[in-house]
Protein backbone atom coordinates (compact mmCIF):
# COMPACT_ATOMS: atom_id res chain seq x y z
CA UNK A 1 0.00 0.00 0.00
CA UNK A 2 1.19 3.53 -0.75
CA UNK A 3 1.82 6.28 1.80
CA UNK A 4 -0.79 8.91 2.48
CA UNK A 5 -0.21 12.30 0.87
CA UNK A 6 0.84 15.02 3.33
CA UNK A 7 -1.21 18.21 3.61
CA UNK A 8 -0.39 21.75 4.66
CA UNK A 9 -3.29 21.73 7.15
CA UNK A 10 -1.64 19.02 9.25
CA UNK A 11 0.44 21.59 11.16
CA UNK A 12 -2.57 23.61 12.36
CA UNK A 13 -2.29 23.23 16.15
CA UNK A 14 -4.97 21.28 18.02
CA UNK A 15 -6.83 20.52 14.83
CA UNK A 16 -7.77 17.29 13.06
CA UNK A 17 -9.00 17.80 9.53
CA UNK A 18 -11.42 15.07 8.48
CA UNK A 19 -9.88 13.96 5.21
CA UNK A 20 -9.48 10.80 3.19
CA UNK A 21 -7.05 9.18 5.62
CA UNK A 22 -9.31 9.74 8.64
CA UNK A 23 -12.41 8.77 6.67
CA UNK A 24 -10.68 5.60 5.50
CA UNK A 25 -9.25 4.50 8.84
CA UNK A 26 -12.43 5.15 10.83
CA UNK A 27 -14.89 4.06 8.17
CA UNK A 28 -16.48 1.18 10.07
CA UNK A 29 -16.86 3.30 13.22
CA UNK A 30 -18.49 6.16 11.31
CA UNK A 31 -20.79 3.66 9.60
CA UNK A 32 -21.90 2.33 12.97
CA UNK A 33 -22.48 5.90 14.22
CA UNK A 34 -24.40 6.80 11.06
CA UNK A 35 -26.69 3.81 11.62
CA UNK A 36 -27.98 5.52 14.78
CA UNK A 37 -30.20 7.74 12.62
CA UNK A 38 -32.64 4.80 12.82
CA UNK A 39 -34.43 4.05 16.10
CA UNK A 40 -34.44 0.31 15.33
CA UNK A 41 -30.65 0.35 15.06
CA UNK A 42 -30.29 2.28 18.31
CA UNK A 43 -32.44 -0.35 20.02
CA UNK A 44 -30.42 -3.19 18.50
CA UNK A 45 -27.18 -1.56 19.69
CA UNK A 46 -28.50 -1.04 23.21
CA UNK A 47 -29.55 -4.70 23.42
CA UNK A 48 -26.03 -5.98 22.66
CA UNK A 49 -23.38 -3.31 21.97
CA UNK A 50 -20.52 -5.77 21.37
CA UNK A 51 -22.49 -7.81 18.85
CA UNK A 52 -23.51 -4.58 17.09
CA UNK A 53 -19.84 -3.58 16.80
CA UNK A 54 -19.04 -6.96 15.29
CA UNK A 55 -21.88 -6.62 12.81
CA UNK A 56 -20.38 -3.32 11.59
CA UNK A 57 -16.78 -4.58 11.63
CA UNK A 58 -15.81 -2.17 14.40
CA UNK A 59 -12.76 -3.74 16.00
CA UNK A 60 -9.81 -3.15 18.33
CA UNK A 61 -9.48 0.31 19.89
CA UNK A 62 -12.53 1.52 17.95
CA UNK A 63 -14.70 -1.17 19.53
CA UNK A 64 -13.29 -0.32 22.94
CA UNK A 65 -14.21 3.37 22.53
CA UNK A 66 -17.76 2.47 21.51
CA UNK A 67 -18.29 0.04 24.39
CA UNK A 68 -16.84 2.49 26.93
CA UNK A 69 -18.75 5.40 25.35
CA UNK A 70 -15.39 7.18 25.16
CA UNK A 71 -16.37 9.97 22.78
CA UNK A 72 -13.08 11.78 23.07
CA UNK A 73 -11.23 8.59 22.22
CA UNK A 74 -13.51 8.12 19.23
CA UNK A 75 -12.80 11.61 17.98
CA UNK A 76 -9.06 11.18 18.38
CA UNK A 77 -9.29 7.87 16.53
CA UNK A 78 -10.89 9.61 13.57
CA UNK A 79 -14.63 9.61 14.17
CA UNK A 80 -16.28 12.48 12.38
CA UNK A 81 -17.67 15.03 14.87
CA UNK A 82 -21.16 14.99 13.31
CA UNK A 83 -21.39 11.21 13.36
CA UNK A 84 -20.00 11.04 16.89
CA UNK A 85 -22.71 13.49 17.97
CA UNK A 86 -25.42 11.02 16.91
CA UNK A 87 -24.26 8.69 19.68
CA UNK A 88 -22.98 11.22 22.24
CA UNK A 89 -25.82 13.77 22.45
CA UNK A 90 -28.62 11.34 23.41
CA UNK A 91 -26.26 9.94 26.05
CA UNK A 92 -25.80 13.33 27.67
CA UNK A 93 -22.45 14.34 26.17
CA UNK A 94 -22.63 17.51 24.10
CA UNK A 95 -20.19 18.67 21.47
CA UNK A 96 -19.16 21.39 23.93
CA UNK A 97 -18.45 18.71 26.58
CA UNK A 98 -16.09 17.05 24.11
CA UNK A 99 -14.43 20.38 23.28
CA UNK A 100 -13.89 21.04 26.98
CA UNK A 101 -12.42 17.58 27.54
CA UNK A 102 -10.05 18.05 24.61
CA UNK A 103 -8.69 21.11 26.44
CA UNK A 104 -8.76 19.54 29.89
CA UNK A 105 -11.24 22.11 31.24
CA UNK A 106 -14.83 21.90 32.46
CA UNK A 107 -17.77 22.61 30.18
CA UNK A 108 -18.70 25.82 32.06
CA UNK A 109 -15.08 26.96 31.62
CA UNK A 110 -15.29 26.15 27.91
CA UNK A 111 -18.54 28.11 27.63
CA UNK A 112 -17.03 31.05 29.51
CA UNK A 113 -14.18 31.13 26.98
CA UNK A 114 -16.74 31.23 24.18
CA UNK A 115 -18.70 34.02 25.86
CA UNK A 116 -15.49 36.03 26.19
CA UNK A 117 -15.19 35.98 22.39
CA UNK A 118 -18.30 38.17 22.25
CA UNK A 119 -16.95 40.82 24.61
CA UNK A 120 -16.85 44.28 23.05
CA UNK A 121 -18.89 43.04 20.10
CA UNK A 122 -21.34 45.93 20.01
CA UNK A 123 -18.47 48.47 19.96
CA UNK A 124 -16.82 46.57 17.11
CA UNK A 125 -20.07 46.55 15.14
CA UNK A 126 -20.54 50.28 15.73
CA UNK A 127 -17.00 50.99 14.55
CA UNK A 128 -17.60 49.02 11.35
CA UNK A 129 -20.98 50.58 10.71
CA UNK A 130 -24.17 49.40 9.10
CA UNK A 131 -24.95 46.60 11.55
CA UNK A 132 -28.34 45.95 13.08
CA UNK A 133 -28.29 46.37 16.82
CA UNK A 134 -31.87 46.28 18.08
Amino acid sequence: MSSWTKHDYEDIPGTYVFDGKHAHDSYALNKLLFSFCEQANRDEFDADPAAYCDKYGVQGKFKEFVLKQDFLGMLKAGANIYYMAKMAIPRGTSVQDCGAKMQGITTPEFQAKLTAKGQGLEEKLKARGGYWNG
Binding site: D8, I12, G14, T15, F34, C37, N80, K117, L121, W132
Partner: protein, 281 residues
Protein backbone atom coordinates in the same frame (compact mmCIF):
# COMPACT_ATOMS: atom_id res chain seq x y z
CA UNK B 1 -38.32 34.51 -16.96
CA UNK B 2 -37.25 33.50 -13.47
CA UNK B 3 -35.29 36.11 -11.60
CA UNK B 4 -33.19 36.18 -8.47
CA UNK B 5 -34.42 38.81 -6.05
CA UNK B 6 -31.45 38.49 -3.70
CA UNK B 7 -29.59 36.35 -1.22
CA UNK B 8 -29.72 35.76 2.51
CA UNK B 9 -27.15 34.16 4.82
CA UNK B 10 -27.86 32.31 8.04
CA UNK B 11 -26.20 30.04 10.53
CA UNK B 12 -27.68 26.53 10.51
CA UNK B 13 -26.47 25.06 13.80
CA UNK B 14 -28.72 22.51 15.55
CA UNK B 15 -29.12 24.74 18.61
CA UNK B 16 -31.10 27.24 16.49
CA UNK B 17 -33.76 24.63 15.76
CA UNK B 18 -33.82 23.51 19.38
CA UNK B 19 -34.23 27.09 20.61
CA UNK B 20 -37.19 27.58 18.25
CA UNK B 21 -38.77 24.22 19.17
CA UNK B 22 -38.37 24.91 22.89
CA UNK B 23 -39.72 28.48 22.77
CA UNK B 24 -36.39 29.99 23.88
CA UNK B 25 -35.95 32.64 21.20
CA UNK B 26 -36.60 35.49 23.65
CA UNK B 27 -34.39 34.22 26.48
CA UNK B 28 -31.40 36.41 27.32
CA UNK B 29 -29.02 34.03 25.56
CA UNK B 30 -30.95 33.93 22.28
CA UNK B 31 -32.82 37.24 22.08
CA UNK B 32 -30.23 39.32 20.25
CA UNK B 33 -29.49 36.49 17.81
CA UNK B 34 -33.14 35.96 16.84
CA UNK B 35 -34.24 39.61 16.95
CA UNK B 36 -31.63 40.27 14.30
CA UNK B 37 -33.59 38.04 11.91
CA UNK B 38 -36.66 40.31 11.94
CA UNK B 39 -35.52 42.65 9.13
CA UNK B 40 -34.65 39.59 6.99
CA UNK B 41 -38.10 38.11 7.70
CA UNK B 42 -39.70 41.44 6.77
CA UNK B 43 -37.73 41.64 3.52
CA UNK B 44 -38.85 38.14 2.55
CA UNK B 45 -42.46 38.95 3.47
CA UNK B 46 -42.32 42.08 1.32
CA UNK B 47 -40.78 40.47 -1.78
CA UNK B 48 -42.49 37.07 -1.48
CA UNK B 49 -40.07 34.82 -3.37
CA UNK B 50 -41.60 31.68 -4.88
CA UNK B 51 -38.54 29.50 -4.48
CA UNK B 52 -35.61 29.36 -2.08
CA UNK B 53 -32.49 27.54 -3.17
CA UNK B 54 -30.85 26.53 0.10
CA UNK B 55 -27.09 26.06 -0.11
CA UNK B 56 -26.13 23.93 2.89
CA UNK B 57 -24.20 20.84 3.88
CA UNK B 58 -25.51 17.48 4.94
CA UNK B 59 -24.24 16.25 8.33
CA UNK B 60 -24.80 12.53 7.82
CA UNK B 61 -28.53 12.22 7.22
CA UNK B 62 -28.93 11.91 3.46
CA UNK B 63 -25.33 11.15 2.57
CA UNK B 64 -23.02 8.75 4.34
CA UNK B 65 -19.28 8.65 3.76
CA UNK B 66 -19.64 5.80 1.28
CA UNK B 67 -20.51 8.35 -1.41
CA UNK B 68 -19.76 12.02 -0.95
CA UNK B 69 -20.80 14.28 -3.83
CA UNK B 70 -19.01 17.64 -3.90
CA UNK B 71 -22.17 19.37 -5.12
CA UNK B 72 -25.64 17.76 -5.08
CA UNK B 73 -28.97 19.23 -6.14
CA UNK B 74 -32.41 18.12 -5.03
CA UNK B 75 -34.49 17.28 -8.11
CA UNK B 76 -37.62 15.95 -6.41
CA UNK B 77 -41.19 17.09 -5.72
CA UNK B 78 -40.73 16.88 -1.94
CA UNK B 79 -37.95 16.69 0.63
CA UNK B 80 -38.38 15.04 4.00
CA UNK B 81 -36.69 15.93 7.25
CA UNK B 82 -35.88 12.88 9.41
CA UNK B 83 -34.37 11.68 12.67
CA UNK B 84 -30.67 12.57 12.74
CA UNK B 85 -30.04 10.26 15.67
CA UNK B 86 -31.38 12.53 18.39
CA UNK B 87 -35.00 11.24 18.26
CA UNK B 88 -36.35 14.76 17.62
CA UNK B 89 -39.70 15.05 15.86
CA UNK B 90 -39.07 15.82 12.18
CA UNK B 91 -40.59 19.01 10.76
CA UNK B 92 -43.15 18.84 7.94
CA UNK B 93 -41.95 17.85 4.44
CA UNK B 94 -40.81 20.61 2.11
CA UNK B 95 -42.34 21.13 -1.30
CA UNK B 96 -39.87 21.21 -4.20
CA UNK B 97 -40.26 21.95 -7.90
CA UNK B 98 -38.86 19.08 -9.99
CA UNK B 99 -39.11 20.71 -13.44
CA UNK B 100 -37.30 23.79 -12.13
CA UNK B 101 -34.61 21.66 -10.44
CA UNK B 102 -33.97 19.57 -13.54
CA UNK B 103 -33.65 22.75 -15.61
CA UNK B 104 -31.04 24.00 -13.13
CA UNK B 105 -29.20 20.66 -13.28
CA UNK B 106 -29.15 20.70 -17.10
CA UNK B 107 -27.88 24.27 -17.27
CA UNK B 108 -25.22 23.66 -14.61
CA UNK B 109 -23.89 20.62 -16.45
CA UNK B 110 -23.86 22.63 -19.70
CA UNK B 111 -21.62 25.08 -17.85
CA UNK B 112 -19.32 22.24 -16.75
CA UNK B 113 -20.63 21.94 -13.19
CA UNK B 114 -21.25 18.19 -13.22
CA UNK B 115 -23.65 18.18 -10.32
CA UNK B 116 -25.05 15.11 -8.59
CA UNK B 117 -28.85 14.97 -9.09
CA UNK B 118 -30.96 13.55 -6.24
CA UNK B 119 -34.52 12.27 -6.67
CA UNK B 120 -34.63 11.36 -3.00
CA UNK B 121 -32.97 13.68 -0.55
CA UNK B 122 -33.53 13.86 3.17
CA UNK B 123 -32.81 17.33 4.49
CA UNK B 124 -31.19 17.84 7.89
CA UNK B 125 -30.77 20.75 10.31
CA UNK B 126 -28.43 22.47 7.87
CA UNK B 127 -31.36 22.98 5.50
CA UNK B 128 -34.23 23.18 7.97
CA UNK B 129 -32.96 25.66 10.54
CA UNK B 130 -32.32 28.63 8.23
CA UNK B 131 -35.83 28.19 6.80
CA UNK B 132 -37.32 28.07 10.30
CA UNK B 133 -35.37 31.14 11.37
CA UNK B 134 -36.43 33.11 8.28
CA UNK B 135 -40.03 31.95 7.69
CA UNK B 136 -41.04 30.39 11.01
CA UNK B 137 -42.09 26.76 11.52
CA UNK B 138 -45.10 25.54 9.55
CA UNK B 139 -47.06 22.41 8.76
CA UNK B 140 -47.33 23.72 5.20
CA UNK B 141 -44.22 25.75 4.45
CA UNK B 142 -44.81 29.14 2.80
CA UNK B 143 -41.91 28.66 0.40
CA UNK B 144 -40.88 26.09 -2.18
CA UNK B 145 -37.41 25.00 -1.14
CA UNK B 146 -34.69 23.28 -3.12
CA UNK B 147 -31.61 21.77 -1.46
CA UNK B 148 -28.18 22.40 -2.95
CA UNK B 149 -25.69 20.45 -0.84
CA UNK B 150 -21.99 21.27 -0.76
CA UNK B 151 -19.48 18.89 0.79
CA UNK B 152 -17.68 20.81 3.52
CA UNK B 153 -17.37 17.79 5.85
CA UNK B 154 -14.94 15.35 4.26
CA UNK B 155 -11.87 16.84 2.60
CA UNK B 156 -11.11 17.47 -0.21
CA UNK B 157 -13.85 20.11 -0.22
CA UNK B 158 -14.25 22.66 -3.03
CA UNK B 159 -12.42 25.99 -2.93
CA UNK B 160 -14.08 29.31 -2.21
CA UNK B 161 -13.40 30.27 -5.82
CA UNK B 162 -15.14 27.14 -7.08
CA UNK B 163 -18.17 27.98 -4.93
CA UNK B 164 -18.28 31.54 -6.30
CA UNK B 165 -18.13 30.16 -9.84
CA UNK B 166 -20.92 27.69 -9.06
CA UNK B 167 -23.01 30.65 -7.93
CA UNK B 168 -22.37 32.45 -11.21
CA UNK B 169 -23.40 29.36 -13.16
CA UNK B 170 -26.45 29.01 -10.92
CA UNK B 171 -27.48 32.56 -11.80
CA UNK B 172 -27.41 31.77 -15.53
CA UNK B 173 -29.31 28.55 -14.91
CA UNK B 174 -32.05 30.29 -12.90
CA UNK B 175 -32.37 33.27 -15.23
CA UNK B 176 -32.83 30.98 -18.24
CA UNK B 177 -35.92 29.32 -16.72
CA UNK B 178 -38.90 30.54 -18.77
CA UNK B 179 -41.50 30.94 -15.99
CA UNK B 180 -41.86 34.16 -14.02
CA UNK B 181 -40.61 32.83 -10.70
CA UNK B 182 -38.96 34.89 -7.99
CA UNK B 183 -35.99 33.10 -6.47
CA UNK B 184 -33.99 33.79 -3.32
CA UNK B 185 -30.70 31.99 -2.64
CA UNK B 186 -29.76 31.16 0.95
CA UNK B 187 -26.11 30.73 1.86
CA UNK B 188 -26.04 28.86 5.15
CA UNK B 189 -23.52 27.78 7.78
CA UNK B 190 -20.47 29.47 9.20
CA UNK B 191 -19.07 31.63 10.39
CA UNK B 192 -15.87 30.98 12.34
CA UNK B 193 -16.02 27.91 14.56
CA UNK B 194 -14.17 24.74 15.39
CA UNK B 195 -15.96 21.87 17.12
CA UNK B 196 -13.11 19.41 17.66
CA UNK B 197 -9.48 19.23 18.70
CA UNK B 198 -7.64 21.10 21.42
CA UNK B 199 -8.41 24.29 19.51
CA UNK B 200 -12.20 23.72 19.78
CA UNK B 201 -14.10 26.89 20.64
CA UNK B 202 -12.19 29.12 18.26
CA UNK B 203 -14.14 32.17 17.07
CA UNK B 204 -12.52 35.05 15.16
CA UNK B 205 -14.91 38.00 15.32
CA UNK B 206 -12.63 40.36 13.39
CA UNK B 207 -12.25 37.99 10.47
CA UNK B 208 -16.00 37.29 10.47
CA UNK B 209 -16.84 40.99 10.31
CA UNK B 210 -14.37 41.56 7.49
CA UNK B 211 -15.96 38.59 5.70
CA UNK B 212 -19.48 40.01 6.18
CA UNK B 213 -18.46 43.28 4.52
CA UNK B 214 -16.42 41.71 1.74
CA UNK B 215 -19.04 39.11 0.82
CA UNK B 216 -21.31 42.05 0.08
CA UNK B 217 -18.88 44.43 -1.60
CA UNK B 218 -15.99 42.33 -2.92
CA UNK B 219 -16.59 38.57 -2.77
CA UNK B 220 -13.42 37.87 -4.81
CA UNK B 221 -11.50 38.95 -1.68
CA UNK B 222 -12.49 35.69 0.01
CA UNK B 223 -11.21 33.59 -2.90
CA UNK B 224 -7.60 34.57 -2.19
CA UNK B 225 -7.68 32.13 0.75
CA UNK B 226 -6.96 28.43 0.38
CA UNK B 227 -9.08 26.03 2.39
CA UNK B 228 -6.10 25.58 4.72
CA UNK B 229 -5.90 29.37 5.19
CA UNK B 230 -9.62 29.46 6.00
CA UNK B 231 -9.40 26.60 8.50
CA UNK B 232 -6.27 28.01 10.12
CA UNK B 233 -7.99 31.36 10.65
CA UNK B 234 -11.64 30.42 11.20
CA UNK B 235 -11.57 26.80 12.39
CA UNK B 236 -12.27 23.48 10.69
CA UNK B 237 -16.01 24.11 10.63
CA UNK B 238 -15.47 27.75 9.65
CA UNK B 239 -14.88 26.34 6.17
CA UNK B 240 -18.71 26.29 5.87
CA UNK B 241 -18.58 29.99 5.01
CA UNK B 242 -17.48 29.03 1.47
CA UNK B 243 -21.15 28.14 0.92
CA UNK B 244 -21.99 31.84 1.18
CA UNK B 245 -19.94 32.32 -1.99
CA UNK B 246 -22.42 30.18 -3.94
CA UNK B 247 -25.19 32.55 -2.86
CA UNK B 248 -23.08 35.62 -3.63
CA UNK B 249 -22.02 34.36 -7.05
CA UNK B 250 -25.69 34.04 -8.01
CA UNK B 251 -26.29 37.76 -7.44
CA UNK B 252 -25.37 40.76 -9.56
CA UNK B 253 -21.96 42.38 -8.95
CA UNK B 254 -23.31 45.41 -7.11
CA UNK B 255 -25.95 44.56 -4.57
CA UNK B 256 -27.86 46.59 -2.03
CA UNK B 257 -27.08 45.60 1.54
CA UNK B 258 -30.57 45.53 3.07
CA UNK B 259 -29.54 44.04 6.41
CA UNK B 260 -26.39 43.09 8.27
CA UNK B 261 -26.50 41.28 11.61
CA UNK B 262 -23.73 39.51 13.48
CA UNK B 263 -23.75 37.77 16.83
CA UNK B 264 -21.14 35.78 18.75
CA UNK B 265 -21.03 33.39 20.35
CA UNK B 266 -24.10 31.38 19.58
CA UNK B 267 -23.42 27.79 20.58
CA UNK B 268 -19.82 27.48 19.31
CA UNK B 269 -20.05 29.91 16.41
CA UNK B 270 -20.01 33.43 15.11
CA UNK B 271 -23.33 33.85 13.30
CA UNK B 272 -24.01 36.28 10.46
CA UNK B 273 -27.22 37.33 8.72
CA UNK B 274 -26.86 39.25 5.47
CA UNK B 275 -29.71 40.30 3.19
CA UNK B 276 -28.36 41.29 -0.20
CA UNK B 277 -30.79 42.59 -2.80
CA UNK B 278 -30.46 42.55 -6.55
CA UNK B 279 -31.27 46.18 -7.35
CA UNK B 280 -33.14 45.44 -10.59
CA UNK B 281 -36.06 43.83 -8.72
Amino acid sequence: MAKIIGGVTSSHIPAVGNAIANGQTQTPYWKRFFDGYKPAQDWLAKHKPDIAIVVYNDHGLNFFLDKVPTFALGCADTYDNADEGWALKPVAPFKGNAPFSWHIAEKLVEQEFDICTCQEMKVDHGFVNPIRALWGTHEIWPITAIPLAVNVVQHPVPSALRCLKLGKALRKAIESFPEDLKVVVLGTGGMSHQLQGERAGLIDVDFDLETMDRIASDPEWFTQFSNTDIMRRTGTEGIETIMWLVMRGALQDNVKVVHKHYHAPISNTGAGVLVLENTFI
